[in-house]
Point group: C2
Chain length 195, copies 2
């Protein structure tokens, strides 16, 4: 997605250890017209899939998902919670997610009320690197009996193995920008898969 | 806001200790057309204020804020983070927030890059009860030198003191539904302020 790549080049900043900072437009301050362009592009890629629900994970995924939902006929968005909450009760789907950044494991949770065999689910998130959070969401979709349409990712770190591993399992991953390398602050893009 | 109150009556559930569960449409599963109606109503109430930025706090505030931003001329949304993040660097505005629910205190953070004296800030959030998170956001706006336009809240628990205390300080709080009582699962609304 060209305008996204241009924006990453203009405003993203590469840092130590393969970190890409996009806090000025994606995951701290959010650029609303860009989020709409992203939502439109996800819709274009998943045209005809009759998505009934978008699933994401707090926090940065939420902004992307709710704007994108407007381009999918206003389907409901469900976000997985990373911490136990008084707002969730009853039966929950859960999955363990390993965080390499923090060196910890946490549990993500989705209420069983909001995901079931009648759903066709599109998973959306801002980043795909090692794919741990995405694997947790996929486990929850599988457990719910819903049909997985695929995963829409804004930025994939192609130099980490998450996307590759999931594609090898036959899961459809649509990443709008795939980064092959971050060296000395310079970002290089790979060709996109599934364009 | 009548359709919000009707939705709370229909799908909200009162629980022990003044808890109101709105997880089917607001803070776990999110109803996109309702979020748009909420955004429109905030815009109506803050018409003419020339908001340049919307500030919220992760996680549930994000969905409300990004949809609302579309009704305020697509101004950027900044969300305060509740945990230290590799995605934030450089100078930060911080505030301590006491959580009565969890019995802990946490720090919220906003990058200084995204809030300054040139901004007219509207704060949006899903709930106002004791007002601790909102006070943290207000401290950050004050520290930044930005002009505070006011606070837009989806659901205020009028039986707790947060809204009253902040209004007494002269802060404009617009709450779309104010609950005066939750007893035996039944929700009673107060008259709205500033309608």
């Amino acid at each position: 997605m060209e305008i996204l790549k241009q924006r990453i080049i203009k405003d993203g900043r590469g840092a130590e250890g393969g970190v890409l900072k996009v806090d000025s437009f994606l995951n701290h301050q959010m650029d609303i017209p860009l989020l709409n362009a992203i939502g439109e592009e996800f819709q274009r890629r998943f045209t005809g899939e009759q998505v009934t629900k978008i699933l994401t994970i707090e926090a940065s995924g939420i902004g992307i998902a709710v704007i994108a939902a407007q381009h999918f006929g206003n389907v409901p968005v469900v976000f997985a919670k990373k911490t136990k909450s008084r707002n969730l009760d009853g039966d929950l789907y859960t999955a363990q997610v390993q965080s390499f950044t923090r060196g910890t494991t946490y549990e993500i949770q989705v209420s069983k009320k909001f995901l079931g065999p009648q759903d066709k689910v599109l998973i959306l998130d801002d980043f795909l690197a090692k794919g741990q959070a995405l694997q947790g969401l996929l486990k929850i979709v599988e457990e719910s009996g819903a049909k997985l349409v695929g995963c829409g990712i804004v930025i994939e770190k192609g130099f980490q193995e998450g996307g590759k591993n999931l594609r090898e399992k036959g899961i459809r991953i649509e990443s709008l920008a795939i980064i092959s390398e971050i060296t000395e602050g310079k970002v290089t893009f790979a060709d996109e898969f599934g364009k």
